[in-house]
Structures are given as structure tokens and as C-alpha cells.
Amino acid sequence: MKKYNLSMLKIFKAFISLLLFSLIAKHAVAIEIIEISGGGTKQINIAVIPYKEAATDKGNNLMHQIIAADLYRSGFFRPLEVNGLINKPSVLSEINYPEMTAIEAQVMTLGQVVINNNRLKVNWFLVDVSKKTILTTMEFSGPAAQYRAIAHKISDTIYEKLTGIPGVFSTKISYISKNKGRYSLNVADVDGFNIQSVVSSPQPIISARWSPDATKIAYVSFEKKKPIIYIQSLVTGQRTVLANFKGNNSSPAWSPDGRRFAIVLTYNANSQIYLIDADGSNLKPLIQSTHIDTEPVWSPDGKSIYFTSDRGGRPQIYRVSSNGGEPQRLSFEGNQNLSPTVSPDGKMLSYVTQDEGRFRVALHDIQTGQIMKITDGPFDEAPKFSPNGRMILYAHKVKGSGELSTVSIDGVVHQSFNIQAEDIREPAWGPFTK
């Protein structure tokens, strides 16, 4: 056995030198390790071996647990049970391949965590079990307080290496919670940890939206007994009023460059879409009608705005140039369609569709017009794409109180979102940050 491992080491050494080149290439080509699992899903069997580290406080997750949970939630991975393994390697030379093959691992990750003077250093490996090759080896370091963040970075790296798609484990989400009559806009890590309150109020807060650079959130607060749009910095906590005109001020949508907004104002009439600069200047109507026009959202190229309108009788999804002009109706199926959101590549819409009394999340291919319902309802709302476009986060009502869930865009992998609160709603997924 030892001999076997030693010979493998030599192969690894040769491979590692090759690896240097693949790491230099910005987007290394993903290897193809795909298996059809029982549920019809393509999943990769991964053994996340406990990283060698000194025991931390009881109750805190260890690095490998955070990584395994991330990968599991993505739906692309099936983390294998590793507690029963005789061998728990933390360096390559300790890997017992027959044992890994026996538990049907296709890939495995292992490593060591060292914390010294409040600095955290992780040496870790991703290994292809059948080919006995290193797919990735890296050293991550940072302040010890960034323990979970560094685990998420490892998850992102593993995910991207094996799927070719950037991982979203380091991104953040926002949501509104309602607890004992008090509303709070919160920001959390995408795994539900590290919850921070941005603003709280005895009056409702709705429609929170992240700035494209993830440093600010715009939202609608009823604290003055009417809807007013605020922008708040996540770095300093400072906030400004974006729009406080007569009537309602709602539905803020940042332009992709972060310089402008589409917003909805009413004055003393129905909801209408306006454009306004992020400093509150330069207000002008986008389109004018006597009907309800609301829920604007920009295409990623900034050229179009999708919105909801009842100009056809029932609420439906429309598109108009961001320079104004004649809107074009896009949704024709279902009794009503609401709350559009655009995929990061601009090719898909997701919105809430209602028929037979159920509100469900639909995915709409803008090019082909093909529509797929990816949730079952009955009260699903506020769908938002993940920054990599692979998942949708949405709210739904269970016995009168709200919860969040995610669903993969093929509608196969459903997961409830891991946040404990009395009532949560109005999710938004923060953008990638570099």
C-alpha cells in the first residue's frame, strides 16, 4: 500500500508541474465527471475528507462541513458519508484510493487548516479519484475571522473546476423578516449564516435591490406611512432618499451601470415607470399610460426594461426600450404574470405565473418563447436569479407566513433556504463581487 502511494506521489509531482499551466489559464476547462443519479439529476460524488485542523469551539462548523454543505445545496454534488473511513488523508501521500473507490467517490477534497496569530492558512487539494490526478491545489489565507468565507471560496473553486460555471457560495442575499410586528431588511451569506440587519422599522419594508457593485441596497420603506425609496450603503450604513414624491414611490431597479434607476411613481394617478439618476436628479417618465405599469427590471445590456402592466386587462409581462417607445407584450399564457426578473446572460426571464388559482415560478426563454413552470405554488413570489444564472431564489407562503427556497433552473433541485425567522419574504440575490 505504501509503495503504491509513493509511486502515485511521483505521478502527482509530474502532474503538479503541468497544473501550474492550467492555473495560469483563467478559466481552466472543466473535467467531465457526471453520473445520472436516482432522481434523474446529474450529480458528482464527492468525498469531502475532514481537513486536518485543531478542534474549534463546539457548535462551529468545521471547514469540510461548510464545503460539503455548500456543494450539496448546489444540487450538482452528492457529498459522500466519510465518517466511517479508516483513512482520513490530509496530504496526498495518505490517500487510500481503493477505499475511495469503494465508497464510489469520483472526486475528493482534502487539506490542512492552520491558524496562527489570528491568521488562517488552508492548503487544500481536489483530486480525481479514478484518474488519481490532482485537479486543483491551492493555499488560501486570510484573517481567522474569515473562516467561513474562505471555506466558501474553496467551494466556489471546486464547483467551477468541475462544472465550468462560477460558484455563488461567496455571494450574499438580502431578505425582509417580520418578527413581532417589526420589519427588518437583512443581509446574509448565501448559506444563511452571518445575518446582519441593515435597517429595521415598525412599518413594512419591501422591494430591496442590490447595487451592481454590491455596496448599496435600495428599498421601499413605509416608515412615513407611505412608500418612499431609500438607498443605503452596506459599508457605512448611511442612507439617502432616492424618491419621495406625492403618492407612492416604489419598485427601484438599478441600471446595470449603477448610475440610474427605473422607479415607479403615482402622484395622484396609477403607477407609472420613470427613470431617475442615482443621486435623485434628472427624473423623467419612461412610458406614459392610464394603466398600471410597475415592477421594472433592466436587461443586462441596459437596452431594455421588462415590466408588469394591466394594459391588456390582467397583469402581464411587457418589454420596452430603455429610451421609451411602444411596449411589446411577452407573456400570453396563464391568467396573470407578474414580477419579472432577467437572467444574468439576458436570455431568460423568470416571473410568477398564475393559473388554476396557483401562483408558480416560470422560466421563459426570451428567444424561443418557451415557458417552463419550475415550482408548484400555490403562493410563490418574487423570483430572483443567482448571479451565475443556475438557480432561482423565491419566496412562498406556508400557513400565512413566508419562507425562502431555491430551485435549479431545470426545476429539478428544490431546497428550502436555511434561515430561521418567523416570517421572511422579498429575497434578492447580491451580485458577484471581485
Binding site: M138, K153, Q196, I206, F222
Partner: protein, 168 residues
Amino acid sequence: MKKSLVLATSLSLFLVGCSSTPINDSPKPSGPSASASEVSDDEKDLDLASLRDPDNILSKRSIYFDYDKDVVKAEYKDLVAAHAKYVASHPKAKMTLTGNTDDRGSREYNLSLGQKRSVSVKKSMNVSGAQDTQIETVSFGEERADTNCKDDACYAKDRRVDISYEKE
């Protein structure tokens, strides 16, 4: 042999720990306000007593709607006309019409639907002589709705416009 990433700066960018902004309702003035002369001015100019009188139709403040409708039903014609007349005859009065919906559908769309209802009430009041400058139409959408409704009798209570006055 290994690629080293130092994540310290990029990861600490979005700590919002100290930035939470708690907002509290400003305490409502209970009863008459501080200055005695102001009180009598408001009482006189706005005839607040008639707004409070439970036997006066002006004390009735809610108008209910059918599902997904913004038509003011005939049964509310007298109520709407009375408030319109009050606004027209009290130039200093400021009225807010707040639309509401049940909790089915999207929050923003329901905000717009509640607004449609408050605009509908305002238009009825315009016919009776109330001026736009004295009226603000807003909406709370589904935010005040009963989230445990199971039948239409329950939903119906959420589909309404509430009338309120500044300084009352």
C-alpha cells in the same frame, strides 16, 4: 507549486455590522397639541369635532371593493360625497386615501392595485368638488392584509380604501 490567494481585503468589504438603522414610529400627538391657540385654530378651521362624531357619516372611513376591481360601489356614494364636501368646504384640510388589497399576487403589483382603488375614490370625490391639491392618494398594497385568509369574506375586508386626515 501552489497558488496563494490572500483574501483578506476582498472578503472584509461587506461587513455591515455597525450600519443597521433602527427606525421607530414617532410618537403620535395624543389629543390636542401643545399650543392652546393652535388647537383652537385647527379645531375651528378643520371642524375636527364633526370628523370624530360617531353619529356623523364623516366618522366612517373605509370603502370596500370587489376582487380585482377599483369601481366605487353605489353603497359608498353618500360616504364619498360627504368627505368630498368636507374637503371642498375646508380649504386647509389635507386628506390621504390609502388603498389596500388582499395578499394574493405580488407585493409591488398589489401596491399598484391599491393605488388604483385610492385613485378611483379620489376621482369620485373630484366630481363632488374636492380638489387634488388637498388629496394625496397612496397605497399600502397587501402590507396590511390578513395573511391567514381562507375565504372571500376574509379577503374582502382587505380590499379597501381608508380615508385619513392630517392633524385629526
